[in-house]
Point group: C2
Chain length 114, copies 2
């Protein structure tokens, strides 16, 4: 997607603070962090939102969340705890129309989650 | 897990308002809803948290999120939008030590997500 901000990060047109990169997924720091650790994990291929994930892409969606959990381990917050968030559409507050998992950690997350 | 609340829901020892059931996953209404629609999607097998998901269980994790997205479609909130949340450990506010995805919808979710 030529105009997608996150596709531009994937293909290197836009710089970002990348903390993880594999064949299907990259992760980078959120530029507007809501917690001491705030990382976005995205698929390299363009999927507009979690609502657009097909049955055959469910393993990729699981991989996004699995990478998030391993990043939490790597940055040393797994034991203290963390929250994963996926927003879809206006009520969810989805800001970029490219599927992304938020990893938030480093402080007490409160309830309700927004 | 004999003492796990959600395993008791899976095996029918505890009643709940189940809205979805397949071979590997069930979903039921949260008893303490934080939005007009608040559903929990859980694996039938006991996994303590997203931190405990192995690489071979990533497809199951993706299926949990995929089921959540299809439930959002089914209850008519996909277009308006929704939020998926997975809490892990104390900072995440994980209340039951059995992996679960929260689906929240029916109102504007705010930012930060807790």
């Amino acid at each position: 997607m030529a105009e997608c901000l996150f596709c531009k990060i994937v293909n290197g047109e836009l710089s970002s603070d990348i903390v993880y990169d594999d064949e299907t997924v990259i992760a980078f720091k959120d530029i507007n962090p809501q917690a001491p650790h705030h990382i976005l994990i995205i698929p390299k291929k363009h999927i507009a939102s979690v609502s657009e994930v097909s049955a055959e892409d469910e393993p990729l969606l699981g991989h996004l969340c699995g990478v998030a959990a391993r990043l939490a381990e790597k940055i040393g917050v797994a034991e203290a705890g963390y929250r994963l968030v996926v927003n879809s559409g206006p009520h969810g507050g989805q800001a970029v129309a490219h599927l992304h998992v938020h990893l938030l950690a480093g402080r007490q997350l409160t309830w309700p989650p927004g």
